[in-house]
Symmetry: C2
């Protein structure tokens, strides 16, 4: 289990060994669903490589982006769900190629007391997720759509490492919980201001994209 080596660095050797032994390395392709609404979760995913997108849907079927998980991060929601054998309240989708280590649920609790580095990792994850959710709330409650769109594009750039973002206006609208028409309009304004270039299923961020 070579690829998980980058995960290992932050864990004590004995734990790394256990992760190698009990964790299952799994690969996914763009759009594959790792967690889904109402489904039970029996393993906790640690992201080794790639990006995992976490979404929340309401009763009317509207979906909104909660946060992205990248290398070495994990989904705290999954953790709680695993422990209590609860159904998932969120959906997690692979964004591009994705590799995770699936930790079986019975190990989670065991390791918590056995390995301080695991406990710290879990606690830090909880904390990071809270922060992300707070940012999310702040963004939705206080910022206008154009700001949120810019923040969204920046985040995409950061995660992909590329200033070319591959997504349709429709997908973006979905993740920001608005309509395609609105996104098209705002993107067009950004293009007119010389911030981006628009292509089909592709947005190129220009140099002075702040």
């Amino acid at each position: 289990m070579d690829e998980s080596a980058n995960l290992a660095f932050q864990f004590e050797p004995a734990l790394s060994k256990e992760i190698e032994e009990f964790g299952e390395l799994r690969s996914f392709k763009d759009g594959d669903i790792i967690m889904d609404y109402g489904k039970y979760i029996r393993m906790m995913p640690l992201v080794v490589k790639g990006t995992l997108k976490v979404l929340k849907k309401d009763d009317n079927g509207n979906e909104i982006l909660l946060y992205y998980l990248s290398s070495n991060e994990t989904c705290s929601m999954a953790y709680s769900c695993c422990l209590e054998e609860k159904k998932s309240e969120v959906k997690a989708i692979a964004e591009g190629d994705l590799t995770i280590v699936a930790i079986p649920h019975n190990k989670l609790d065991e390791w918590l007391c056995k390995y301080p580095s695991w406990k710290n990792y879990i606690m830090r994850s909880f904390n990071e997720r809270f922060s992300e959710m707070l940012k999310s709330i702040e963004s939705i409650a206080f910022h206008k759509l154009d700001d949120r769109l810019i923040a969204y594009l920046k985040e995409k750039k950061r995660l992909s490492g590329s200033s070319v973002i591959k997504a349709s206006h429709y997908q973006i609208a979905d993740e920001l919980a608005t309509s395609r028409v609105v996104i098209s309009r705002l993107l067009k304004i950004l293009e007119n201001n010389g911030k981006i270039l628009l292509y089909r299923n592709e947005i190129k961020l220009l140099h002075d994209f702040d």
Copy 2:
């Protein structure tokens, strides 16, 4: 430490004893600040009696309500902050009379492995807070202000156990991150529809308040 007896029921006896020994019972009055932005948190509050209001403020000074904590609940944010000696990202205010048990931060980690009931309590708390935050995001992102106002009034009723809500329009506006004028308008509509009665600093929910 008599009043914490209601907390005790869910913990194993040995832990209850430790809570009695190391926890400090504290009382607050309406409006007292238990946690504040940027301040370090050196103890974790368990709510014994009353209600604790948890808020988040953005850079521009806008504040929004995250959730309420009532009896036997605790603030997971505080937990993470305590562990890592981090500054608080949220503010917690007493809503009416409030009694808490303050758990010193050095015990948190110790008990986690020592007492399974403590670990379960903490994990359940994390989970509940995540759910609350998800609800909050859902509410802000997908529901219109009138729905959110109704939900807010219902929650107030649930927490206080009374269908008379004591709050000014201004306070409500603050917690829903909008302006006083807007809240006054919506409340007046509810009154005209026979759902509520308005008084100064007081709102009476009528029977068919759905």
